[in-house]
């Protein structure tokens, strides 16, 4: 069980999907095989692009920090951003762009407020390094640290509805009890308020 299982579970068969920061298209390939989606990936890395092309998956070179201006409004059923929101320069603007381009959006991210992180920072006095955040502070792609509750309040601020929230604890789905304390990772299905669902 991992977060890709959760995402695959959220996408209905035959949907159109845009996967931002698609890496080597592992997720898109699963969605192709298991959900018969029409999918497209976006990545900035040449090797990732090459691998997607080899797998026969449509992929574009793109820099997420430049937004999604070339993608028309509502042009995909689902826009996916997996474990990347904490790595872009302006997460709030990218979130706006995703709910514009996708009728629904799936976004997952590590919860910085999870118990293990609190212990490492609060009691240990050191920046957390663990399975969920496996980087030292000086060499990490993560440039924003935020919590499950921070994300919920950002969505409220930007008039985005959370349709579904899945809490993961160490790669397993956990019951939604004290999510901000217990979740190591969160996966949300969101949409812009007032847009047709």
């Amino acid at each position: 069980m991992n977060v890709f299982d959760v995402i695959v579970d959220m996408v209905p068969s035959g949907a159109t999907v845009l996967d931002l920061g698609c890496d080597d298209c592992t997720l898109l390939e699963r969605l192709h095989n298991e959900r018969q989606v029409r999918g497209r990936g976006v990545d900035i890395d040449d090797r990732s692009i090459q691998e997607c092309i080899r797998k026969g998956i449509s992929v574009f070179h793109g820099n997420l920090d430049e937004g999604l201006k070339d993608h028309p409004t509502g042009s995909y059923d689902y826009v996916i951003l997996s474990r990347t929101l904490q790595q872009v320069r302006k997460p709030h603007l990218l979130l706006d762009e995703m709910v514009r381009v996708g009728r629904q959006v799936i976004v997952n991210f590590p919860n910085f407020a999870s118990l293990i992180n609190r212990i490492q920072l609060g009691l240990g006095g050191r920046m957390p390094v663990n399975k969920n955040i496996p980087y030292s502070w000086y060499d990490t792609p993560n440039i924003h640290f935020f919590t499950r509750n921070d994300f919920v309040s950002l969505c409220r601020e930007r008039e985005i509805t959370i349709l579904r929230e899945v809490i993961l604890y160490r790669q397993r789905i956990a019951p939604p009890v004290l999510p901000n304390l217990l979740a190591t990772e969160v996966c949300c299905l969101i949409t812009k308020d007032g847009s047709a669902v």
């Binding site: 029409r38 090459q50 691998e51 092309i53 080899r54 574009f60 070179h61 993608h71």
Partner: protein
């Protein structure tokens, strides 16, 4: 061990079998005879479904790989990409490249003999379009009994033809590779072509296009080529290649007998070009490029893209200012909106528009992945 590369190759010529009225062109005019020069690398398989049609750029020709004789200094223009084990792998694919209609390297063009007069056409040659070139290529494929293409591929004007192929004959094209190209030239591109044509036409030897049998307008054509060459390079690649170094003479001399390296390079390119290219072809082919507008000829961009059936790979190059990335993106996002199978990458390269001829590694790998990867 024998090095795995294409050695001696032979050009072929084929006369299209045309109806009595000749080849009908988009302009409404006809050509009574059309000869096509082409080369072939690798063999068609039994099902004849492994053919890749490679489309040359403006000043290219059918000689894409290998050499014509042992003394030939430079092999064909895409030798690095075509051959055993290369991106266009001739162990697996049969690669065909033909000279375009209106050209001057074996295919019928303004320098060919007009059967009606027994003299070269000159400006009596009808205006040809990129669509006409593609139609001639299709008829060449038909003569070779090839009804489906594994891929069409080209850069610059060749990429424009590859795009036209996917829209004009969608049922024939399984894959298209469009490099450093566009669905229509921007005004900057048209402007540079206009300067080239003006250089030729203002050479007194051009004589309204009637110079066959006498000296050609070499000076005008050389200047046109010099301008062209500047547009194929980038500011950075020129700085690296030439800087402000002097080739000859004493720097600062007042007799103007000194020459910067970049000057001598451009002169050399101009002179070399005159030996192999016809000035009238320069005019016809640049006009064909200028007029080309995919959206306009197919009732809008989305109508054009709706016709596409095959998969596309579109590549642009970061330092190409003649066919900038934005123009490739226009194609890519129009295809995406139409729900087509298209992949796009911008390759970081310092070589300007010429990158697609020079940048072998990543370009090769992406093309290999596209040609040999999974097709959905």
């Amino acid at each position: 061990m024998i090095p795995k590369t294409i050695g001696l190759v032979e050009p072929h010529q084929l006369s299209l079998s045309l109806p009595p009225e000749g080849l009908l062109l988009e302009s409404g005019r006809t050509l009574p005879e059309v000869v096509v020069q082409y080369e072939m690398y690798g063999e068609p398989n039994g099902a004849r479904d492994n053919v890749i049609l490679v489309l040359h750029a403006f000043s290219g020709d059918a000689h894409a790989a290998g050499v014509h004789h042992d003394q030939e200094k430079r092999p064909g223009w895409w030798h690095d990409m075509i051959g055993p084990g290369k991106a266009f792998d001739t162990d697996r694919f049969c690669v065909v490249c033909s000279n375009v209609l209106g050209g001057c390297q074996g295919t019928t063009g303004p320098g060919s003999i007009n059967p009606a007069t027994g003299r070269p056409y000159g400006l009596d040659f009808p205006v040809v379009t990129l669509g006409d070139m593609v139609e001639v290529q299709r008829q060449l494929m038909e003569s070779m009994e090839i009804s489906r293409l594994y891929a069409v591929a080209g850069g610059s004007m060749g990429g424009m033809q590859a795009l036209e192929w996917t829209v004009r004959f969608p049922e024939m094209v399984e894959r298209a590779i469009v490099l450093a190209s566009t669905s229509r030239l921007n005004s900057q591109g048209i402007a540079f072509n206009a300067v080239g044509r003006n250089a030729i036409m203002s050479d007194p030897l051009w004589n309204g296009g009637n110079y066959y049998g006498g000296p050609p307008p070499a000076q005008g054509l050389a200047v046109a080529r010099m301008v062209g060459h500047i547009t194929y390079l980038s500011s950075e690649s020129m700085r690296q290649k030439f800087g402000r170094r002097f080739q000859t003479g004493r720097p600062g001399g007042l007799a103007f007998d000194d020459q910067f390296e970049v000057e001598s390079y451009l002169s050399y390119q101009g002179e070399k070009f005159v030996d192999r290219f016809d000035a009238n072809s320069y005019i016809y082919l640049t006009k064909a490029m200028d007029y080309y507008d995919l959206a306009e000829s197919w009732g809008g961009m989305s109508a054009a893209m709706d016709r596409v059936q095959g998969a596309l790979l579109v590549l642009s190059y970061s330092s190409d200012w003649l066919f900038p990335t934005e123009q490739s993106k226009e194609i890519v996002y129009a295809l995406a909106r139409a729900g087509k199978d298209v992949s796009f990458n911008e390759i970081q390269s310092p070589y300007g528009h010429d990158s697609f001829l020079l940048e072998a590694s990543l370009q090769s790998e992406l093309i290999t992945a596209f040609l040999t990867g999974k097709k959905r």
